[in-house]
Every structure is written in structure tokens, then in C-alpha cells.
């Protein structure tokens, strides 16, 4: 009993918050503003509780297992959710359905927690669905907007289709190995054609969720259609959690098929980086621009994953921590501007520095970090990813990745130039942001600078993995 409580601690805390919100929803008479601050406090409690009593162990006959590294990954996700609740406070306060929004978001977070901890294909499938179905409902949150429902439709159909493919892969893998437990599958793998087909189908489903290139087409549409809070959740938390389980599936379950997936990852990483970058070059809408930039970032994550050793694992977890800070800062600024002025194109951002210097500096810092310019943490994240990718000795692969970083610099700097140097007749007027938004932006900015400068963070992750 005691073990049950400590090992499943983070899931139990999230479940408790979900139940509390349900009761709040039934009772009435709480104003949106006080409810929002209550939820923010609860999410902060959730984040802090993640740092204590982390042990290694498994429950339910190895269906659920956890370790200090998994606990750290869960903390990254909790941190992201807490930051989103602060960043989108202005939008959320206005919303009529505040408790529902957090109910859906926390259900998805619960699904991600179980997904990272899963030790069995059944639990993995169930938690993957728990992590995607509520997000599709969240994407439709602007009920009156045509674009929102179109984005949600595209999201639910493509995620249902991809989970169908995932299930077909799982059923073939079950037929070929006779087990659905992560611990027992590796002994049964001998790279027979049936197993390779099953692996490719599983890989396809992961590629859909991570928006790796041939399966990326839904990403930009869903990101543009959804409200910005949901877009931030999709691009940071959802993607991060799938990356975590993807890496542990590849490294633990499919380790005997390393040669198969190494080639696959190299090809897809190059395709993802090149196509993500080329499409990002011509985008005008800021959300669509960030969507394609996040596709390109996934390409760099794949470069790190391809290494197949602990260096790759460490580099990916470290990069996702940085990615949470930098992408949420960019989405936070976009959310504030869209909420107060309704402007969402890059041309509208011209001359932003004249009127909103604080927002401009945070946006510039976030974009520099995404591009990987030295003093910011993004540089160190990319550096470790490429080092891990180069450990196999394929230097042409690393060269292509580095060239793609140069291309990405062009379009990130295009936004920075619009903000700082271009003149504009009627720029976005001066915006007075709330305290919580300002606090979250400062946390993100500090995170972008400090995660790179404090080397013990990287050492700590390395000691865990």
C-alpha cells in the first residue's frame, strides 16, 4: 500500500486535482479570477510534489514502472502545464468554461504520465488515447470559430487513423512474439519480416504523434486553428511526452533491431529538418510559423535519438527542458498580443519594440534560443544533440543537420528584424499584461538563460539516465 502511494504519487496528485475541479464545477458561485488562481496554486503544488520521494520500482506486475529519470520527465511536463496556466491567464479569465478547460488538460496530462511510465503495450495504448482524445476536444475550445472546429476535426481524424495503424502494428507484434510486455519483447525479436512490418507500423504511429515529416500535414492546420493555449500545450507538452516514450521504446524494447531503426531515423531526421525549415521560410501567420519551426525542432531531436546510447537519452531530455522554456516564451508573447489586439501575422509584429519593449526582448530571447545562438540554452541543447548524433561517426549527417541550423537562423531572425528594426505606421499598441503573465514570461526568460549556463543541470540528467 505504501509503495503504491509513493510510486504512483504524481498520477494520484493529478487525479486528486481532477476530482477537485469536478466538484468545483458542480457547485457554483466562484468567480473566474479566483478559480484561476486556485488552479494555478494547485498546479504549483503538483509541480513541487514531483520533486520528493522519487523511487525506482514497478507495480501491477510490471505494467507500471517508474524511476528517477521518469519522475524528472514528469516534472518537466508539470512545469510546462503550470507555465501555460500562467501565460494564458488573460485568455482563460475571459473564458466561460474555465474548469472544463483544465479538466481536459489535466486528463491529457494524466494520460501522458501513465504513458511515460507504461511497461506494457496495453497500458501504453490506453494512456496514449487518454493523452490525445481530450486534446482534440480542447482544440475545439473556441466553439464559435470555424477554424477551431476545422482544426479539431483534422486532429481527431488523423489521431484516430494513426492509432488504428498503431494497433495493427501491436497486433502483428503480439502475433510474432506472443507477449505485450515491454520486458519480454526484446528476447523474442529476431528481425523476421513480420516483426519488421510490425515495427514500421508502430514507428508510423509515433511519427504521426511527433509530426515527423511524411506524417506532418495535420500539424500546421491544427496549430493554426486551435486557441493559443492549446497550441502551446500540443507543441510542447504533448510532443515532449511522446518523445520521451518514443526514446525509451526504441532503446529498451527495440534494441535488438537497432540497425533497422538507425537508418530509418537518419532518413526521417534529414527529411523533417529540411521540409520543416523550407515551409517555415514562407509563413506569415505566427502560429503557423511556430508550427513549422517545431517540426524542424523534432528533426533535431531525431538526430539526438539516432545515437542509441545514454548520451542520446540525456541530450534529448535536456533539449526538451530547454524547448519547454523557449517555445512557451514564444507562444506566451504570441498569446498576449493575439489576446489584446487580435493580431497574428508577422507583419503586424513590425515596430513592436517601440511600444512593447519587454515582450520584444522575451520574444527575441526565445527565438534566439530556438535558433541555437550561443549565450542562450538552445545552443547547448543543439550542441549536445549533434554530439550524440555524431557518436556513430557519420559526419555527413551532422553536417546536414548543422546546415539546417543555418537555414533556420534566417527565418527566426526575420521575425526579430520585424520586431526591432522595421518601421510600421500603426504598430501593436502598448499592452498592459497581468502579473501572472509577466511572472511566467520572466520564468521562461530566466530558464532560457540559466539552463544553458548552469552545467550541473546537464550533469544531473546524465546521472539519472
Amino acid at each position: 500500500m505504501n509503495e503504491f502511494l509513493t510510486l504512483m504519487k504524481s498520477e494520484l496528485v493529478v487525479t486528486a486535482i481532477i476530482f477537485l475541479l469536478l466538484f468545483i464545477k458542480i457547485g457554483r458561485g466562484i468567480k473566474n479570477e479566483s478559480l484561476l488562481s486556485l488552479i494555478q496554486v494547485l498546479l504549483l503544488v503538483n509541480l513541487i510534489s514531483g520533486f520528493f520521494f522519487n523511487k525506482e520500482g514497478s507495480l501491477f506486475g510490471d505494467m507500471f514502472h517508474t524511476s528517477t529519470l521518469i519522475a524528472f520527465q514528469k516534472n518537466i511536463l508539470s512545469l510546462g502545464v503550470f507555465l501555460i496556466s500562467l501565460l494564458c491567464a488573460d485568455w482563460l479569465k475571459r473564458s466561460q468554461h474555465l474548469p472544463e478547460f483544465f479538466l481536459l488538460m489535466l486528463s491529457a496530462l494524466l494520460g501522458m504520465f501513465f504513458m511515460i511510465s507504461s511497461g506494457n503495450l496495453l497500458i501504453f495504448y490506453l494512456s496514449l488515447e487518454l493523452a490525445t482524445i481530450p486534446v482534440a476536444a480542447m482544440a475545439n475550445f473556441d466553439l464559435e470559430k470555424k477554424r477551431s472546429s476545422e482544426g479539431a476535426m483534422k486532429m481527431i481524424l488523423s489521431s484516430a487513423f494513426s492509432s488504428g495503424i498503431l494497433l495493427f502494428g501491436i497486433s502483428l507484434l503480439y502475433g510474432a512474439t506472443g507477449t505485450i510486455s515491454f520486458a519480454e519483447i526484446p528476447q523474442q525479436l529476431d528481425s523476421s519480416p513480420l516483426q519488421i512490418l510490425a515495427f514500421v507500423l508502430l514507428f508510423t504511429a509515433f511519427a504521426f504523434k511527433l509530426s515527423i515529416v511524411p506524417f506532418h500535414l495535420w500539424t500546421a492546420d491544427v496549430y493554426e486553428g486551435s486557441p493559443i493555449a492549446v497550441t502551446a500545450f500540443l507543441s510542447v507538452i504533448s510532443k515532449g511526452s511522446v518523445a520521451f516514450i518514443f526514446i525509451s521504446t526504441l532503446y529498451k524494447v527495440f534494441q535488438p533491431m537497432h540497425d533497422v531503426w538507425y537508418t530509418l531515423l537518419v532518413v526521417l531526421a534529414i527529411a523533417t529538418m529540411v521540409i520543416g525549415n523550407l515551409f517555415a521560410l514562407r509563413q506569415q501567420n505566427i502560429k503557423r510559423f511556430l508550427a513549422f519551426s517545431s517540426i524542424a525542432q523534432v528533426g533535431f531531436i531525431l538526430v539526438g535519438i539516432s545515437s542509441g546510447d545514454t548520451m542520446g537519452l540525456t541530450a534529448v531530455v535536456y533539449f526538451i527542458l530547454i524547448y519547454v522554456f523557449s517555445n512557451l516564451a514564444a507562444f506566451g508573447v504570441a498569446s498576449v498580443i493575439s489576446e489584446h489586439s487580435g493580431k497574428e501575422t508577422i507583419d503586424d509584429y513590425k515596430g513592436l519594440y517601440k511600444t512593447n519593449p519587454f515582450l520584444s526582448w522575451i520574444l527575441a530571447l526565445a527565438l534566439f534560443s530556438l535558433a541555437g545562438i550561443p549565450p542562450t540554452a538552445g545552443f547547448f541543447g543543439k550542441l549536445f544533440l549533434l554530439t550524440a548524433g555524431g557518436s556513430k561517426g557519420s559526419y555527413w549527417f551532422i553536417t546536414v543537420a548543422a546546415l539546417n541550423m543555418v537555414i533556420s537562423l534566417y527565418y527566426y531572425l526575420r521575425v526579430v528584424r520585424a520586431v526591432f528594426m522595421d518601421k510600421n505606421e500603426n504598430p501593436v499598441e502598448s499592452i498592459k499584461t497581468g502579473t501572472s503573465v509577466k511572472l511566467a514570461l520572466i520564468i521562461c526568460g530566466a530558464g532560457i538563460v540559466l539552463t544553458g549556463l548552469l552545467s550541473w543541470i546537464f550533469d544531473y540528467i546524465q546521472s539519472l539516465s
Partner: protein, 104 residues
Amino acid sequence: MMEPGLYHILFISAALFFIGVYGFLTRRNLITMLMSIELILNSVNLNFIAFNKYLWPHKMDGLFFTLFIIAIAAAEAAVAIAIIINLYRSHQSIDVENAEDLKY
């Protein structure tokens, strides 16, 4: 009369899977697309039960998986139909060709 073996069932389930994929990619009506996804899921169910019966009869993993797939398919269809109804309210149509605000 010949007793149906594993290969017969696998043939049916593979055929169902590809009919589902074909339907999902070619149909333009959202409800029909959802039905194609149900076909895919049912082909997976057949697969699991056949593998469990013919290859690994001593453990029940395949049957349990099937039960969960049926439940999740219902949940997914519920959310998808809610979204489609909302789409119908704003677009007055459930044809994917008419939902084309977001492009490129």
C-alpha cells in the same frame, strides 16, 4: 468441409484493414471516414483474437486487448461525432472539401 485456419482469418483481417485505409483516404464524408476507422479497429480485433486462439492460447492478453479496443473506439467516436456536429453547425456541411479555411 474445411476448418478455417489462422491464415484465413488473417487474410480477412488484412483485407478489412486495407478496405478501411482505402475508405479513409478516398471518402469525403466525415461520418464515412469515421466508419472506415471502425473497420480498421475491427480488423485489429480479429487479428488479436485469431493470434490468441491459434498461436498463444495459454495467455489471455489478446482477448483483453480486444475488450479495451472496443471501449476506446466508442469513446473516440463520441468525441469525434461531437466535433463533427459542431463543424456542421458552423459549415452547414460534413463534407471535408468544404472545411478548407486552413491551408498551406
